[in-house]
């Protein structure tokens, strides 16, 4: 049997299957997704890509099953068990309203029905001391109430369980011992961190999507019964086993976008680039994320309006994409988005009934989108229709049609530049030190312009940008994360009573990680979240601590330097508090895809036909070379202005930039920078 690894991305209209062949080449297969049961397309795709007699060793996939169940509210009937007096916890949220100036205050209802929240008479204090014990009668009463309610999943989240999980664990154990087919989640199994609403919300998402995910994974493993390992990409960019995903499906809710970021990082790695800003511009929105060798993680995320307090890749989304509609606001300024023409009817240029001008239509007017080469020539654009729609807006603005089209792009760029500033400048990173890695249908059209606005001098457009997520799945590492709230003074943790207590807690997590991740080379790394005593927001600092070590190094200096970098000052002499510890356990993925050694599927001979047409790239019409990407070969180099077209997108190379094919990717560099 050969060692075959397969990556599958099921995010969109198509399911992309990508196989790493024995000689290090990538083989791809694309088929229509089967949204009612995504496992069907995956099963068929995997079968189709395998040669006779070949068996897959690993299948790694990203799934939107949990995400869709959550966003479409098709999840399980969940019973929520919490400390008595706090049954409404999920309704209280943080008591703020989502929109400041809306007269109609709208708040998303929780994922649990009002009658399915149960209070337990038992109480811990903040130090983890029992104030009111949990009795067997109380446990029996809760179990009975849940039976009567006929729930499919149960989530237990008690106050201060991060400090002492005893009560919560007793309840969870009792619930699991029942002969009921419940998916049971204890909040501390998901995240042992403080802040009751956020922890409970995260645990409830887990319970809500749990049964759906379990059924799905069961169907999938049935279809892939000859696969040795079935794995799922996690929202933090690592992968985990199907068993783990069934138990803790909340970790997969952002698995799709995570695949893109991992893929972008790996593509950059092929060229020896570590620092990237990934830029995924789709039809209705744009995702940006900053990475420095590793994706940036956050534990302050949200999905569908619900708090998510687990490590996820820090992706910032802005409502501007190819389908964003351009309009004039009541004060007379040009607006682009957040309204979108979506995929249906889509931009006017798609000729499917869209009437209002979009970003895509502006490109069609200016010629940067070639009507005859859209989707590799499989669809033609209605450039006249697009022009007509932009003309109407131009008349309202009292401007020319090209001027208006350029304006639409400038305004869309402003929104995206702002998003990139949020993830870079606002967090103490200078975008000029980063490479913009562009993918998504509309990314290549804007990447060069955006780079100029932000004074970034390098842009990378990966090969097969449409398959980037699938490649990301294939190349992701097995990884797990465990968090533990500490909330003690840092100095007390470095020695003394807290030190002993903490080492024991860390030991338990290190052991758990080793058990769960199996044998083999395992890298363990601890990150300490630190803050000055009295602050609320902590800063993650990597530490070289191990549970076995008697002595730990003092990270105060690193923390203060980071505080200075982020906020412009340090408060020397003030006590530092250890808020959370996070363990990351990872097994390095074998470096399966070395850069540059495999050809693009449609590799040309470099003499491909090029045409020269008039395109307006921002300074009026000019003669621009247009070339099909498949006609470019490794090492080919061109100067801008140029337009490179391919099935999954169009890349604009502005004047003053060069483009080179390296390791199959397009590397755009600004001349003289």
């Amino acid at each position: 049997m050969t060692d075959t690894t397969i990556g599958v991305d099921t995010g969109g209209t198509f399911t992309d299957v990508i196989k790493l062949t024995e000689d290090g080449r990538l083989q791809t297969h694309k088929l229509l997704s089967t949204p009612d049961d995504p496992s069907q397309a995956i099963g068929e795709g995997v079968d189709a890509i395998l040669s006779d007699g070949e068996l897959p060793r690993e299948v790694i996939h990203g799934t939107t099953v949990a995400t869709n169940a959550l966003l479409e509210r098709q999840g399980a009937k969940v019973g929520f068990v919490t400390t008595a007096g706090f049954e409404d916890l999920l309704w209280m949220r943080r008591q703020n309203r989502p929109r400041l100036y809306a007269l109609n205050v709208e708040v998303d209802p929780p994922l649990v029905e009002e009658g399915l929240c149960f209070g337990v008479d038992a109480r811990m204090d903040a130090a983890g001391e029992v104030i009111e014990p949990l009795t067997d009668d109380e446990i029996e009463g809760i179990v009975q109430q849940l039976r009567d309610a006929g729930v499919e999943a149960v989530v237990v989240s008690l106050l201060h369980s991060y400090a002492n999980p005893d009560h919560e664990q007793q309840l969870v154990a009792a619930l699991r011992a029942c002969d009921e087919d419940w998916h049971v989640t204890g909040s501390c199994e998901v995240t042992a961190t403080f802040r009751e609403y956020e922890r409970s919300s995260t645990a409830v998402i887990n319970g809500y999507v749990g049964p759906v995910m379990g059924r799905y994974l069961q169907r999938l493993s049935g279809r892939l019964d000859e696969t040795e390992r079935l794995e799922v990409l996690q929202s933090h960019g690592g992968r985990a086993t199907a068993d783990h995903a069934a138990r803790l499906p909340v970790h997969t809710v952002l698995s799709g976008p995570a695949g893109g970021v991992v893929g972008a990082l790996k593509a950059a790695e092929d060229l020896g680039i570590d620092r990237i800003i990934s830029f995924d511009m789709g039809g209705t929105s744009t995702d940006v994320s900053l990475a420095d060798g590793e994706p940036t993680l956050t534990e302050e995320g949200a999905i569908g309006g619900f708090a998510l307090q687990i490590p996820i890749i820090d992706i910032y989304t802005v409502g501007a994409g190819g389908g964003s509609i351009a309009d004039i606001d009541p004060g007379g300024a040009l607006r682009v988005g957040p309204r979108s023409a979506g995929a249906d009817p889509g931009p006017v240029a798609y000729g499917r009934g869209g009437r209002e001008p979009t970003v895509t239509d502006a490109h069609a007017v200016l010629g940067s989108l070639r009507p005859d080469r859209f989707l590799g020539g499989r669809m033609s654009l209605d450039a006249d229709g697009a022009r007509e729609a932009v003309q109407k807006l131009a008349t309202k603005l009292g401007a020319g049609v090209e001027e208006t089209a350029r304006g639409i792009l400038d305004v869309a760029d402003a929104a995206m530049a702002r998003a990139i500033k949020v993830i870079s400048l606002e967090r103490g990173h200078d975008p000029r030190d980063y490479t913009l890695v562009s993918f998504g249908g509309a990314g290549g059209l804007h990447a060069c312009r955006l780079a100029e606005t932000l004074e970034m001098s390098t842009v990378l457009v990966p090969r097969n940008p449409g398959l980037l997520s699938a490649v990301g799945m294939l190349r992701a590492e097995p990884r797990r994360m465990y968090s533990k709230t500490v909330l003690r003074g840092l100095q007390a943790c470095l020695g003394g009573d807290d030190h002993t207590w903490l080492r024991e807690a860390m030991q338990r997590l290190e052991t758990r990680a080793s058990q769960k991740m199996g044998d083999g080379e395992l890298k363990l790394g601890w990150t300490a979240s630190l803050r000055y005593e009295g602050q609320s927001f902590s800063i993650p600092v990597e530490v070289d601590w191990r549970a076995d070590d008697e002595k730990w190094s003092d990270p105060t200096t690193d923390f203060e330097q980071e505080h200075q970098r982020l906020y412009g000052y340090r408060a020397e002499g003030r006590g530092v508090e250890l808020v959370d510890l996070r363990l990351e356990a990872r097994r390095p993925a074998p470096d399966v895809v070395a850069g540059g050694q495999h050809q693009h599927a449609g590799g040309g001979d470099g003499t491909g036909e090029m045409e020269t047409v008039s395109v307006d790239l921002g300074d009026g019409p000019e003669e621009v070379s247009v070339v099909e990407r498949s006609e470019l070969s490794e090492g080919d180099e061109m100067e801008g202005p140029a337009v490179i077209t391919e099935y999954s997108g169009t890349t604009v190379v502005l004047a003053g930039w060069t483009v080179q094919v390296k390791a199959g990717h397009l590397l755009l560099e600004q001349v003289g920078r």
Partner: protein, 517 residues
């Protein structure tokens, strides 16, 4: 400036103000700033008119421009200067809100922009922990700072005045850091964009003015009046009427509060800045959410007050609570007047109080270290034409977050025993008002508890035949089981084992229940 550049620059200025806010929130020490986000950041032009404000807390909308005006009048600012103030009678609102104004200077050292941030400090001295007590004069409310150039001596003075000096020093550093970030970003943009940046600031203000002109133009012309009241000031007996006369005349609006009650002995008075903020907030709600928050639209709305009234107090009237309570009632009366002009747009009254609670004392768990804790509790929002109110949300002039119970119990010597929806407290109607909140506390040490609340006698009003929401209740249950119903505004000493239960008002209903669809 063309419509395209306008939008690009709107993004640019707004992102700088937002970034200032991130620095302030993440590096500060007061729960009010870091957890509850009771702060705001803004950019002003050389003439002191607002260019951009981050979407933070509405009550600061119209009042920060007055701080900048006061700072510019009093201090000749140059590179590196920061001007600090909190005096309600010289550009401030109430003493806990400390404002920093800093110039962005050109090569000659002349201010070309100003950045400002205001943040609610947990304690600035005065007679009561948290500086929100039943004062009878502004001088009892804490340290009062007229516009003053920042130096370390001033930091020492503020720290010495406060019950929590270390926390004050940290917050003040965070406020300076926020302004420095704003100055750095604006300086970069001036270098990069030169004159275009100044044109853009002016064009954005004009754009916002046109936005409001169009909005007012579409409203019917006429004059409408509305009256509501504060129940009391905690010192004298109430009620204290607040009256608004709204006039829409073409593309201008005038809101006249002259006929409101005279200033009172207790701390519910407000300086005019707060009245202006509340009024601007209401008009801001009528506009599209994309209306750029700057001085432009404010030009179209005139606020008239009479000096010496509760809505435009003169020194030394106490003002500690006015900013949080009276501001809500001013919002209600402007809404009420507008409801007559636009019966199909305006919702019934919301909770109408921030349900302020302050607990101060010493913490036996930490060697008797003193603490001052402040929080506000949500209520129900008013129902409107076509929608029910929401339960357990902060409404109108505030949008602060709660303090997580786990964070609170970790830091302070008392516990929360119940936190939930107060079912049935929303006003009935074709559309029902949102429900208020029940939150109860058990104290673990001797402490001074201050409740500052409103809508305890009668609830928020309904509209178009809808019923009012239920009024709130403040109940103290002593360790021995004795119950005491507290006044709407009261300072009380508690002992270990005592319990406080706060029930907050629901929102008003909209439309008669029996009305056929």
């Amino acid at each position: 400036m063309n419509p395209i550049e306008l939008e690009i620059y709107r993004n640019l200025f707004a992102s700088i103000a937002e970034e200032m806010g991130v620095v302030l929130m993440r590096s500060s020490f007061s729960p009010n700033i870091k957890e509850r986000r009771d702060f705001s950041c803004a950019i002003f032009d050389a003439g002191g008119e607002m260019v951009a404000q981050a979407a933070h807390i509405p009550v600061h909308l119209g009042s920060t421009p007055m701080s900048v005006a006061a700072a510019r009048e009093s201090v000749q600012m140059g590179p590196g200067d920061h001007v600090v103030l909190n005096d309600p009678y010289a550009g401030g609102t109430h003493l806990p809100d400390i404002t920093f104004v800093s110039p962005v200077c050109d090569d000659e050292g002349q201010p070309v922009f100003y950045v400002a941030n205001r943040a609610h400090h947990a304690d600035v001295g005065g007679a009561t922990p948290g500086s929100l007590g039943l004062s009878k004069s502004v001088d009892e409310e804490g340290i009062r700072i007229p516009p003053t150039r920042w130096d370390e001596q001033l930091e020492d003075q503020i720290a010495e005045a406060s019950r929590t000096p270390q926390e004050r020093r940290g917050d003040l550093k965070a406020q300076i850091a926020a302004n420095r970030r704003g100055i750095a970003r604006l300086s970069e943009e001036i270098r990069r964009r030169k004159a275009a940046l100044f044109d853009a600031a002016e064009s954005l203000q004009n754009h916002s003015e046109r936005f409001m002109e169009n909005l007012l133009d579409e409203m019917p012309d006429g004059t409408w009046s509305f009256e509501d009241e504060l129940e009391g000031d905690g010192v004298d007996s109430g009620p204290i009427p607040i009256r608004a006369k709204l006039t829409i005349d073409g593309d201008r609006a005038v809101v006249d509060f002259s006929n409101s009650a005279g200033q009172v002995k207790g701390p519910v008075n407000v300086p005019k800045a707060v009245t202006v903020s509340a009024t601007l907030y209401v008009f801001r709600c009528l506009a599209d959410e994309t209306l750029p928050s700057n001085g432009g639209y404010m030009r179209r709305i005139e606020v008239r007050t009479e000096k010496g009234t509760v809505v435009d107090a003169e020194p030394p009237a106490p003002v500690a609570i006015g900013n949080v309570e009276t501001s809500q009632r001013i919002t209600d009366v402007v809404m009420g007047a507008l409801a007559k002009a636009l019966p199909d747009r305006i919702p019934a009254a919301s909770c109408g109080t921030m349900n302020n609670l302050t607990v101060g004392g010493t913490d036996p768990r930490h060697g008797g270290k003193s603490f001052a804790y402040y929080e506000t509790i949500a209520g129900g929002s008013g129902a409107g034409p076509g929608y029910h109110g929401a339960s357990a949300v902060h409404t109108h002039m505030t949008n602060t977050l709660n303090t997580p119970v786990e964070a609170l119990e970790h830091s302070y010597p008392f516990r929360v025993e119940r936190y939930g929806i107060r079912r049935g407290s929303g006003g009935e109607g074709r559309f029902e008002g949102g429900s208020g909140v029940v939150r109860s506390y058990r104290f673990g040490s001797d402490a001074t508890v201050t409740v500052m609340t409103e809508r305890r006698t009668s609830g928020p009003w309904g509209l178009a035949g809808g019923q009012g929401g239920r009024p709130g209740v403040n109940l103290l249950i002593r360790a021995d089981g004795t119950e005491e119903k507290l006044d709407a505004k009261q300072v009380v000493e508690v002992e270990p084992g005592d319990r406080l239960e706060m029930k907050t008002p629901g929102g008003g209903g909209w439309g008669s229940r029996n009305e056929a669809d």
